[in-house]
Symmetry: C2
Subunit: 102 residues, 2 copies
């Protein structure tokens, strides 16, 4: 964790990548997709149903989220399952929501 | 904390506010300002010096950050000091950076 007495230091390149990460999370549909994966991996159809967005729009957003390393995918025969990249993603969304709700 | 076996549920309005919160964090200059406040409150001049951005540009970004409740300010005579709104903001930036660095 960060030393509470020090400013957080980062290189310019890291700050740019971090800004892009938050940019990916700055969209309601992408946030809903991330929230739908809190309980585990989901296929595109399940995600489309849960978020009430078309399958093609969900696929498009999942590609963005995968490029930004917020989600990853796993192939099982003809099906592709999507899941959160790691627990940081869960933490970011839930901490953000805690802040909004306060 | 969130139940690991459940999807994260939120109302449409909350998701929109959350998206706006992340939108504010999706800018390298605003991220640098937040990072500069990790060690405590700073005046506009200190923030301008640390981020190498003009005082007027810093003031503009601080207004955005304050509207989004990411920072708050305190007046002391003729000086205004800015600080992170709460520990959630610190957590969001540092968790994001951990994710980027992995």
């Amino acid at each position: 964790m960060t030393d509470p007495g020090q400013d957080l230091q980062a290189e310019a390149g890291e700050v740019k990548v971090l800004a892009e990460l938050f940019h990916q999370m700055a969209d309601p549909t992408r946030l809903l997709l991330l929230m739908s994966m809190f309980s585990g991996e989901k296929c595109v159809c399940e995600l489309a149903e849960q978020t009430d967005v078309s399958v093609s729009a969900v696929s498009h957003q999942l590609r963005s989220l995968r490029t930004a390393r917020l989600v990853r995918s796993r192939k099982n025969g003809r099906h592709v399952f999507y899941m959160l990249d790691d627990d940081h993603v869960k933490d970011l969304v839930s901490k953000g929501l805690e802040h909004v709700r306060e």
